[in-house]
């Protein structure tokens, strides 16, 4: 630029012209109509990438909502026009991913008149950037799987979304995001005598539904692969089973206590071979974690992250209980229904406290749930090309005391503790 300007001067173009050009350029730059996200250079004392080793004294370049470059400070030159967010005393990490949340909208998430409502799409009631999601951001949570509740056996279809401001279309990153199932626990609360209010009934209802769904999927597969010319009729109650049986979306299975977790493994893994995860898996279910480990079935543990072993009065960390028995694909949830979504990092930190390796704790907040939700091409780690969802914390990520001071989602600063809200 400088050299070009020099050339202009050398060619004696009148100063007025230069002035005009400069003015025009600066007006264009400050044009409020220009909605392209700003470009940032985020500097941090330590960058926990969740994709390989952490980077000490690193820089992340953010442009167009994506991560443009990431690396040690001395290897990354900050180009002109990038605003520097200087957090050299702090920690940067990927935005947290919650694979079990009910706060994509505020209010009801249980439509439990029928035992199964496989056509129900929770995406239709999203309220982007609602108060609970604002709090989620303040806890560093940038992506959630928003799901229906567990009031019935099959409660509908979840959606993967960002917590940032925007329209529903802008914040949704995957829809359908999952199929939501509930075995044991909550569906049992319905009055006795109804189908599906006891465990045997629930399992019967679910098997029936899964078989129906499997037949529907097979019919469409046969048609798509030319084994039959008869185009199947579209059934909106069963459509969801096509991506489910193709393995394009996971099955979220609300399950807990070891007996029920065993039934979950038998039905969803052994019989139907579905992609999914044990959600909750709490109380004493960690005792069958060796069976989970044999199948390498993912577990999304929480919100109860500890349990009292009544035999000896000891506190057991549930995640550590799974880990000790060989289960490895572990991550955590808060199961937020109100203003608790921001506590996600606590769940991992407490897991670590009771014996989950620290690195696992980090992955369990980020890349593992992202992979499980099959959105790891966009979120879950700090890598070039991925969404610029970056969390700045004022202390080590796995220290319970560390707080979030800044959050970027899709390359924009959506939370700054210094400006948006005075803390403490």
């Amino acid at each position: 630029m400088l050299r070009e300007t020099d050339v202009y001067f050398k060619t004696r173009i009148p100063a007025v012209v230069v002035l005009l050009i400069t003015l025009t350029w600066s007006v264009a730059a400050a044009n409020p109509e220009d909605k392209s996200p700003p470009r940032y250079a985020v500097r941090a004392g330590k960058i926990v990438t969740c994709a390989g080793d952490p980077i000490d004294n690193g820089t992340i370049l953010v442009s167009g909502g994506k991560i443009e470059a990431i690396g040690p400070r001395d290897q990354i030159e900050i180009p002109e026009g990038y605003k520097v967010l200087d957090h050299r005393e702090m920690f940067a990490m990927p935005g947290l991913v919650e694979a079990h949340s009910h706060v994509g909208a505020q209010g009801g998430f249980n439509d439990s008149v029928y035992p199964t409502v496989s056509g129900l799409e929770i995406a239709h009631q999203i309220q982007p950037y609602n108060d609970a999601l604002k709090e989620a951001i303040q806890g560093g949570v940038t992506t959630i799987l928003y799901i229906p509740g567990s009031g019935n056996n099959l409660a509908g279809i979840g959606v993967v979304m960002k917590t940032r401001p925007g329209t529903a279309e802008e914040v949704i990153i995957k829809n359908p995001g999952c199929l939501k199932i509930a075995q044991a626990g909550n569906p049992e609360r319905r009055s006795s005598g109804e189908l599906g209010s006891g465990r045997a009934g629930m399992n019967w209802v679910l098997r029936e539904k899964l078989r129906k769904g499997q037949r529907y999927y097979q019919k469409w597969l046969d048609y798509e692969q030319g084994r039959t010319d008869v185009k199947p009729e579209v059934d909106l109650q069963l459509e969801i089973f096509r991506p489910v049986f193709k393995g394009e979306i996971p099955v979220v299975i609300h399950t807990q206590m070891f007996q029920v977790v065993m039934e979950t493994l038998r039905m969803f893994h052994d019989e139907f071979g579905l992609k999914g995860a044990i959600h909750h898996g709490t109380f004493d279910a960690y005792r069958v974690a060796d069976e989970v480990a044999k199948r390498d079935f993912p577990c999304c543990i929480g919100p109860r992250v500890t349990v009292m072993d009544r035999e000896n009065g000891q506190i057991v960390g549930v995640v550590a209980g799974y880990y000790a028995r060989g289960a490895r694909n572990l991550f955590v949830n808060v199961d937020a229904t109100g203003s608790t979504q921001e506590d996600l990092h606590f769940q991992a930190a407490l897991g670590v406290r009771y014996g989950w390796p620290e690195e696992d704790g980090l992955y369990g907040l980020t890349i593992r749930p992202a992979r499980y939700l099959m959105v790891d091409d966009r979120v879950g780690s700090l890598e070039v090309g991925k969404d610029a969802d970056i969390v700045i914390k004022n202390g080590p990520v796995m220290d319970l005391r560390s707080a979030v001071v800044k959050v970027l989602i899709d390359g924009e600063v959506v939370y700054d503790a210094a400006q948006d809200r005075r803390i403490y």
Binding site: R304, V307, Q314, V318, R401, R422, Y424
Partner: protein, 442 residues
Amino acid sequence: MKIYNQKTHFRRWVVEIPAVVALLTILAWGQELKERAVAIRGAAIETISGGRIEKGNVVVRGGKIEAVGAEVEIPDDARVIEAEGMTVMPGIIDPYSRAGGVTGGGEFVRVADQFYPYQEVFKQMLPWGITNLSITPSSLGQTAVIAITPDLPKTMVINKDGNLFLPVTNSTSSLRVLRDGLALRPAGPQGQGPEIPTRAGRGRGQRRGDQTQQQQRQRAGQRAGQQAAGGPSSMADPLWAKVVKGEQYLIVDVANSATILYLGEILEKYPEVKVALNTNGSTVFETLETLKKFKPLLILPPRIENQPNRQYRINAARIAHEAGLEVAFTGLKPEAAAAMPGMRAGRGQRAAAPPTRGASEVNRDVPLFPVAYLVKAGLPREIALLALTLKPAQVMGLADRLGTMEPQKDANLLIFSGDPLDPASRLLRVMVEGKFVYENKN
């Protein structure tokens, strides 16, 4: 026969004397065992009174601390606890507790007459490191101080004659009790003294001229049954005298921010009076300017709270400290009801605590986490530790017995696996009056 008898006599004597000597020796030895010292070796020590000792020993004997310091020698008879890498600090003292089945009602509640030691709640407090409580009634009365020794219910109360306690609301009847009390208007034998307010704010007695005769008759009728000559209400009189002289803290539970305004007006006239206010962070935030004037000691829950009607989060302990106010913490252990949904007291009252539905277990294993969070959020560490120990002891008037690691004080102490304010540390043992009453096996 005679010879025989004499012989027997002699034999008996020969047997009895050594037997008695042996018995005495055994008894003396037993006594010696009882009084044997316990020594904690090589620990970091938060003395509270004299800073932190990075590596030192603590010797305990006869329920008291015998010696503390880096150079302290360990007696030969001591049972030694190796504590290298661990941290010792005084037991936590809660200056405002309702444990032990204590309620309010009537004219005057003396907690020492109501206290019920056989309650599971005391055992549950030990994993939080709480060793002493000041038990407060819920209406006008006198607190009692206890040491948490559930196995010794008879001696749990260590001070039966505690502080004067008064709940105050922004109501005429309630504020009059305070005004009359501080003006030392005695409670007459016919119950003409300060009347007992309830939260509802009951009207006050006959001596004032602003009551109708009908009201006076009603009052007199109510009292006739409740109060004999020199009855319970007059029990407050000597306590008010102590309060006015500044010999004892007056413990006040304030209903709201407005109450603090009126309380401030009254108390500004009594600079000698020492007041400890039980309140919360958002109230402190709202009334800080008033509080700065009459400088009460604040009894606060250790948690991050919200500004009133705002989403802004505040560290009230830090704000109070920076405004020159003293702070003591209360309610470290969540009440049973609050433990289930976590440490949250509803929306907007976010506790700095591990979340939710495993909280009762988690909190007990990370007892000082809420305080550690406040420290991380800018409350000076030494102020936080004082607020857990010496400040409550001062409020109770027991600073000579409790609250620091100093010789001659009660041996109430905690052994943490590391820094007490690091959430990765665990509380390993709790000692009350020289005996280990809790051991963490996790």
